[in-house]
């Protein structure tokens, strides 16, 4: 009887261990996925800051003096967030910044859609043709998904950095 109880506990513990591993792997892949998204979004904007500045300008939210400054700084922030998430360095701080950016992006997109602006999103490409309100709303919903991912990465440990992983293997 006692043996059967011990077996059940052991089985449950093993199942819980497997579950935790699945969650850990899921978070790790989520972190890498978000890293790829941010790096992919940053590079075209870094390559063409003038076009990205136009995209920012077209939202008609910022005053003229803030448009170019934001267009220069934001893509680099996205790239650094992506690199940090990918490398597992300061992941939580990066995810926190990512969450903040998503909130800002969603406000901008919904505001543009609400004002009936026919503008390009400027999210992953610069210089693409103008989109209608429905496309902007879809982009906002996508960003909502990214916000949830960011909050998960802030709340939970999303796996080791390559350096930590290498040290663990050597230990």
């Amino acid at each position: 009887m006692q043996s059967a109880g011990t077996d059940t506990l052991a089985t449950r513990a093993a199942a819980a261990g497997r579950g935790q591993r699945v969650v850990a792997v899921g978070l790790f892949l989520l972190r890498l996925g978000m890293a790829a998204v941010f790096i992919g979004a940053a590079l075209p904007k870094i390559a063409a800051p003038d076009l990205f500045a136009l995209a920012v300008h077209n939202y008609q939210i910022l005053p003229a003096w803030g448009v170019n400054a934001l267009a220069l700084f934001l893509p680099w922030l996205e790239l650094i967030i992506g690199l940090c998430l990918g490398l597992g360095l300061w992941s939580r701080a990066s995810a926190l910044l990512m969450a903040g950016l998503m909130v800002v992006f969603m406000i901008a997109l919904v505001s543009a859609a609400g004002r009936g602006l026919s503008i390009s999103c400027g999210c992953f490409e610069v210089g693409e043709h103008a989109a209608g309100a429905s496309t902007l709303v879809w982009a906002a919903l996508r960003d909502l998904g990214f916000l949830v991912a960011a909050l998960l990465l802030v709340r939970f440990d999303a796996g080791p950095s390559p350096l930590q992983w290498w040290r663990r293997r050597r230990a």
């Binding site: 003038d50 500045a53 003229a64 170019n68 680099w76 210089g127």
Partner: protein
């Protein structure tokens, strides 16, 4: 918590620094404190204000080109304008080419500056004199200038 806030500030600081340094090193860097972003970012594209463009409307040598979607054009457009959607530029230009002449003054407008700039550049590359209407369709509407 303080450590996390510190890391966030460092990441923000590094991003600002990289943005400024790479822009300074770039041969065609942009004016990060610029107050007139549209003109500065497109030194190769000429802009025209609504005040300047309105009197040109009655001249036979001037043609307004609407770079918005055909549906937006159908709903309302600048009086006498012709549709040249930025989203299907090659096809639309092929249809319009025979009606354009290099001596004509073309004024391009759209809902967003980017589309109008793209169309104006496209036309300039083909030998036309194309300028972009500052403020685009919205500015024209705000000024209550002739529409149809």
């Amino acid at each position: 918590m303080a450590r996390l806030a510190g890391q966030v500030l460092v990441l923000l600081g590094v991003s600002i620094l990289l943005g400024l340094v790479t822009n300074a090193l770039r041969s065609e860097g942009i004016d990060w404190g610029g107050r007139d972003p549209e003109r500065f970012r497109h030194p190769d594209v000429e802009f025209v204000s609504t005040d300047e463009a309105a009197p040109l409307q009655s001249q036979s040598t001037t043609l307004f080109l609407d770079a918005r979607t055909p549906a937006e054009f159908s709903a309302q457009h600048v009086f006498g304008a012709v549709s040249l959607p930025a989203a299907s530029l090659d096809g639309a230009y092929a249809e319009l080419r025979d009606f354009l002449a290099p001596e004509m003054e073309l004024i391009v407008y759209a809902g967003d500056t980017m589309s109008a700039v793209r169309v104006a550049k496209y036309l300039s590359e083909r030998g036309y004199k194309a300028r972009v209407l500052e403020g685009g369709w919205e500015a024209w509407q705000d000024e209550r200038l002739p529409m149809e």
